[in-house]
Structures are given as structure tokens and as C-alpha cells.
Symmetry: D3
Subunit: 173 residues, 6 copies
């Protein structure tokens, strides 16, 4: 059991939008983006935990700009915080049209994973030590997002979600 930095789990995927993944207006389907994000962040979680991982949850994702056929998609993922057996990852998706040199943001999201041992049982993961300002912000917010997931999944009573309550207060302020 040791500690790792977010940089150590950093994963970069580059893909091209192909016809089979687009709809009739030549936009990349959202489901394909979610699929690629899952693979990129599962690799990041695998690098952090040195284990096989399974997706536990996906947070709310909003798609900002449609990605067009033939454009290049760049997905980056890294671990934001490690809990007992689960890890949260942050993923960013950008697209680029090479001939016109246009680069545009598509979306960001948080996926969580559970590390499994060779018998398929959850195993304790390495700790995460954030380094940059953004990493520290993600690390702190992870607790609050975790409580929101548990409440939405019906596995935590709202009253026990102390971190989440402060968010509510902030939102309402």
C-alpha cells in the first residue's frame, strides 16, 4: 500500500469520429463519448490501483458542443481521490477539427471505480496525494460528490450527508 499522485494515473486517449458512431446529422453519439470516457478513466483507475477495476457510477454529464464526423477527440483522465475500495476520476473531452484548426470543449465528468483482486473481491486501493491547485480542488470536492451519489442511489440518508448539506447551503445562499 503506497501513495500516488494524480499525474501517475494521467491517461490520454485520441480518437477519430467514424461514420458508425454518428447520427443522421453526422454528430458523434453521446453514448460513444460516454463509452470512451469509461475506458480512459478505467485505465487511469487501473494505473492508480494496479488492479482490474469496474465502473461503480457516473455523475451527471452535460454535452456542451456536438462533435462532428472526422474530428479528432482527445480525452484525458486522472484519479482525483481514493476512498477505501473506490476511486473517483475526472475526465475532460475536447475535440479538434484539424483542417480549420478549431478546438472546442465537449464535456467533463466524474466516474467512480472499484478495484478488484484476482477473485473479483473489492481490494484496498493506493492513497492519492493531490499536487496542483486544480487537483486539490477536485480532491476536496470528491467527498461532497460521493455523498450526492450515495443519496441519489438511496444508500445514504440525507441527514448523514454532512458534506453535501454544506453544498445545499452554498447553493441556496
Amino acid at each position: 500500500m503506497s501513495a500516488k499522485t494524480p499525474k501517475e494515473s494521467m491517461t490520454v486517449m485520441t480518437e477519430i469520429v467514424l461514420p458508425n458512431d454518428t447520427n443522421a446529422l453526422h454528430n458523434l453519439r453521446g453514448g460513444k463519448i460516454l463509452h470512451w470516457m469509461d475506458i480512459a478513466s478505467a485505465i487511469a483507475a487501473g494505473k492508480h490501483s494496479n488492479a482490474v477495476v469496474v465502473t461503480a457510477s457516473v455523475d451527471n454529464v452535460s454535452f456542451e458542443n456536438p462533435i462532428k464526423l472526422g474530428d479528432v477527440v482527445v480525452i484525458t483522465a486522472k484519479v482525483t481521490r481514493a476512498f477505501k475500495t473506490s476511486m473517483e476520476t475526472h475526465i475532460e473531452v475536447w475535440a479538434e477539427n484539424l483542417p480549420t484548426e478549431t478546438r472546442y470543449r465537449c464535456n467533463e465528468a466524474f466516474y467512480t471505480f472499484v478495484a478488484l483482486d484476482s477473485n473479483g473481491k473489492p481490494k484496498k486501493s493506493n492513497e492519492l496525494i493531490p499536487e496542483t491547485e486544480v487537483e486539490k480542488k477536485h480532491y476536496e470536492g470528491a467527498l461532497r460528490r460521493r455523498q450526492l451519489r450515495l443519496v441519489l442511489a438511496g444508500r445514504m440518508k440525507p441527514d448523514d450527508a454532512t458534506e453535501l448539506k454544506s453544498l445545499f447551503t452554498d447553493i441556496k445562499a
Copy 2:
């Protein structure tokens, strides 16, 4: 412009879990499930709006049971409510191991779509008239979930999210 019932957009997809979509422990990747859910619900939204649709957002998804290699996956999707140019859909995912006759639930989720006209501009969608008790409950909750999406995406001030506030109150109660 006319009105449709949820039943009219009902879409059923049946898939088999293939090796290329599993991880080293032979569990179906979460990203593939999210991808299939997107296709099933995009068809449901297309049936409702008779238009090409693009995914606008995906709500928080928790995966309850890992789906195994070779199992049959059944995905059902229908529209829960239509807004001006967007529609919310509800999706349920069940899996089945045929030799052992085991049927288990994997997850449920809400995806939203925007209907586009042939120039790729958002177009007004048909209204939705819920019929069953569950459909009516989904219809009513849609407003609250929509406000949560807008707040999380930074496109609505918490103070304007009147429906959402009542949820906060419920949660805190």
C-alpha cells in the same frame, strides 16, 4: 404538433455481452452499457419527436450488479416528459443468464435529448401525456431533475430552481 403517450416511444433492445466489451474479470464495461442506453433512449426520443435527436445530458448512474460475459442484456426506454425542444427519457437495464434462469437488475437512468430539424436546429417536440402511475410519477419528477441538471451545468441559479428547492427541503427534512 400533436401529443403522444410514453407507450408510443417504448423501445426494447436485447444484446449479448461479447468478449470485446468485458474487462479482465469478464464483466461488461460500464461504458458499453451507457452506450447501449444512449442508443435505446435516442430511438425512443426519435419515435416521440419524429426527428433526429442529439444527447443533451445523462443523469447520475449507479451500477448495481456487474453483468457477466455471455449474459443477455435487455434495455427498455421511453420518453417521460417533453419540454420545449428537449425530452427526458427513462431507461432500465436488466440482465439474464439463460442457462441458470437468473434475472438481475443492472441500473436505471434518465437521459435527455434535443430534437433537431433537417438544418440541425432545435425543433419543437410533440407533447407527452403520461398514462400509468409510474409514467405520471416520472412526468412530475422530470421538472425537478431538469433543474438539477441546469444547476449542475451552471446554467440556472439555485435560487430560480423552485422545484429543486422543494427536493432539497425534502432531503433535509
Copy 3:
């Protein structure tokens, strides 16, 4: 060993016609339809027999209307009759163009499957009890179609095909 109704094996698959499965005129290849029909009916046969199944034969298929790129294809399959170790399934294929609300029939067919035990040996399948008028008609015709298959495959002498003979008589009448 028990009995099941056709409804219990009912399988619905919904697919979208993607560019890679079409020819230069943007029609879905017949071979891809045959492939989807095989998966849908294998799942139906698997539900009926609770076993792994292998395709034994495909009856004559005529394609009525070309299916276009981007259209939604709906395939339904259910078991029509169970023999000692084989089962016959009936499959129907419809397509739908969502923006124009056009629904058109593509074809129907009968596929047969053999149920296998875990050693890959044929195993006795559950009986089938037809319920509706159509199911009863399919059940009765299954014997005749089975004899036609055996004769065409050179595994039954025409003279022993008593059910088939009556079909010949009908046709010639």
C-alpha cells in the same frame, strides 16, 4: 423438463442501420439482417431451452423491401415448436423511418436450433405449448417445414416425408 409458451421466449431486438452495414446505394446488406435474425432467434431458443444453442438451419428467406441507412430495425423472435433436441423459431423483421413515420415490413423466416449441454452434446429441450391462433398455425406447420429441411439436406427420403407430401398435394391441387 417442463413446458413453456411461445410468449416466454419472445425476444425483441432494436437496431439502427449504420454505414458499415450498407452497400453503395445505402441499403442494409441482406447478410447483416440474417445475422441479426440469428442472434434474436438464438436468444429466443436459449430462453426456451435454458441452454446454449447452435444454429442448425435457416429456411428460405425473401427480402421484400430494402432497408435504408439510418432506419430503425425491429426484430421479433419466438419458438414455434420443440422437437427432441431441436427447436424451430419464427422471426419477423420490420423497419421504421422515424422522421417520416414510415413503417415497412422487410421479411420473415424460420431458423432452427439445437440445444447443447455443457459438454456440447445435444440435450432434450422443454416442450412448447402454443396459445394464440398464429402460434397454433406455426406449431402445426413446423412438422411439414422440418420434413422439407430434411429432404433438402438429403437426410430424409421424400417417400417418408408424409407431412410434406400433403403440402405437395395442396400445392398441385
Copy 4:
């Protein structure tokens, strides 16, 4: 408009059985074989007619031996006879396990295709001149098989199927 020999449309496809195309017992799905056969015979029909072609029908297919994961599949197809706008093709499927030097037959079948012009309308195809004994036998049987297809599809009255009647007589003899 000219005439071609079957040799000129001869098409050979070689494929490897991959995990995603097999069932739980590692047998290649029948539907995948039907799909490959469709592509091979469509290329043969395209070579003969120098046109885009669509699948019109598939005759009864019986699968003789299951094909195993990792085996090499060799599919050969050639045109057997050209009618006004349709063509019949004959396809043979063999498989081979390279390490054990085992070669086994899987099945044969007849597929028919319609040649289309650039507007998607049926176009007259080149004539076919059979050369070998087998090609001549396939050429002669084509008329009978065509009548069987039309009768089974409900597009020809049994009484008008003069070629087919003689088959019935042969079978019954």
C-alpha cells in the same frame, strides 16, 4: 450487354473465427456465416453484373459441422445463372484448423441478387455461360430453384411452376 463465365465471378474470402462471433461453447454463430456468405456472393454478383447488387433471397441452408474459435474459414462464391434482372449464386463454406491440419465442410447455399443501376432501379445483367459439368448442373437447377422461391414467397401459383412440378414428381417417385 455481354456474356461471362462463372469463373469470371469467382470470389474467395478467407476469415478467422474471432471471439466476438462465437457462442458460449466457442462455436461460430450461424448468422455470422450467413453474413460472410452474403458479402462473398454479393461480390461475385457484382463482378458478373458490374453493378451494385441487393440480396433478393437466400435458399434453405443446413449447417453440417460447427466451426470452432480460431479456425480459418474459406468461402467461395460464383454466379450460377443470370435471369432478366436477378442472378443466382452458389456458395461453399469450408473451415480449417491449421495446427491439426483438419479441413471440414460447413455448408453450401444459393443466394440471389438483383443488379441496380445508379438510380437504384433493377438493370439487365450480363448473360452467364456455364463451362464445367458442375456449373452446367447448377445452371439447369437454377430454374427449378427459382420457381420454388417464387412459390414459397407467394409470388407464383404452383400450377405455373412447370420446372418445379417435375421436381415434385422426382421426389415422389
Copy 5:
């Protein structure tokens, strides 16, 4: 351990260029051609050695003519010479536009493979006896190409590459 002729390993693959394998100008990606060539020549090497094989190297490949979407690609491969545990194969790629009856050459190449036993260890392969003039020329050149590969990979000192030296002399002459 026995000897085989090149004809015995002859492998023919026929493929259609699909949208997902092309770039924005509808040309087949070079990488896909290299992939198909690898499969065709791996099957040829597998037929020769009756073993599982792994790709050891690919020689310089120049692409002569872009292959267009929808065109038919024919790849032929056969073994040119067997060394102790490795084999060299020669591959030719032609493409054909069926409607215009245009046939054009894309490229040729040499790939080498190592035969493995069931433990994944290199195993001695069958000898190769060339028959035709072209096969004999390929057989003789194989030694020279092998030395070039070893020198380029830094596994042979140029001074020991006696066959290669004569090539240098020829080139310089």
C-alpha cells in the same frame, strides 16, 4: 518435419472498403491495409507451419494507388522461404471498382512470422520448396532481405551481412 510448396500456403482474402476504414476523402487508411495484409500472411504462415504464428517484422511498404470507398480489395499471400523458426511471406494487394471494371494495384510487401508451439516457444517450421520462377526469385532474395532486417533492427553487424553486401554493390554499381 516435412517440406511444402508455396502453393500450399497460398491464401486469398477479399474485402470491401467500408466507411469506418476511410479518411475524409474516402480513401482506405493505409493502416487498415497493413492490418489485412498481416491477417492474410499470418494465415499463409500458419498453413505452412501448422502452428500459431506471431508477426516478427514488416518490410518497407509503399502505397502506389489510393483505394476508394466501396471498392473490392483482393489480398494474396504465400510463404517465400522458411528459416529455422521464422518464415518470410510475400503479399500482393489489388483493388477493383466493379461498376467501372477498373482493377488497380495497391502495393506488395514482405512480412515475417515466427511459428510457436503450444507453450508459446518458437518451433521449427517446415521447409519450403519453391516451384515457379517468381517463387524461386523470392526464395533467393529472402536471405538478403533477412540480413537487411537484422541490420536495421541492430541485431546483425553490417560486416556479417554477406548477402546484403552484394546488394549494396549492385545498388552502387
Copy 6:
């Protein structure tokens, strides 16, 4: 027309080895690696030239270590030198087994591309200014490798390959 550094075309692809891309011993097929390398380097060449590009040639590639099923593959590519209408790219392939934290090198290669304008005609590409020591070494070697390609493709007389001759001299020394 402007100049760019290699860093500006730097492309990182991360992939997982899936069952369908492996052989019977669970090694990734060499052809799939060549395919991924082509996509990564085509994106790098596209970034440098802001144009659609086609693969012109692939230099000799030797595979150093077999890559295993489930391992993560990281491919990096950048442009090494721009000629009139073609560009050379350098690609490196590493693989990683996450559970055992083993990282191993698979191979490196040089691919060349031609930039095309919207009519599919070769267009002049941006200049390349190498920055690091390795980039400068690659830049200088590019001329020699280009002559070797032209000589091997039969498009340059050995006597005109002045840069290449010095390589021969070096090798023989």
C-alpha cells in the same frame, strides 16, 4: 505557410488489447499495432499540415516483445520532417500490464504521409523546426530514410541517393 515544432503535432493514443485482436496464444496481432500506429501518425501529420493526409509509406518495423491480451498500449507520434508535399512521422509503441506494473517496449517506426487539399491533390505542407536533440537527429536522418524508400520503391537510382550512400559507407565501415 508557416513553421511548426514537433511538439505541436505530438499525438498520444491509449488502447486496450481486446480478444478480437489477438491470436490463439493471446498475443496482439502485429497488423493491429500497424493499424493503430497509422491512425496515431496520421493525426500527427494532420495536426502539422492542417489537412487530410494519406499514408504514403511505412518503413521496416521489427516487433520486439509480444503484447498480451488486456494490456494497455500507449502510442506516441510526431512529425520529424516536412518535405514538399510529404511528411515523415516517428512513432513509438509501449505496452503496460497494470496489475504487475510492468512496462515494456514493443517497437518504433517511421510512416510518411502526403497532405491533400479538398480536391484530393497534394498540397504544400508547413515546415518543421526540430527543437530537442532527438528531434534534430530524426530531422537529419529523414533525408537518408527518404532516399532508401525511393530506392526500394524503384523511384530513385541508387547513384542519385547521395545521402543514402553515406549510410552505406557508415554501415560498411
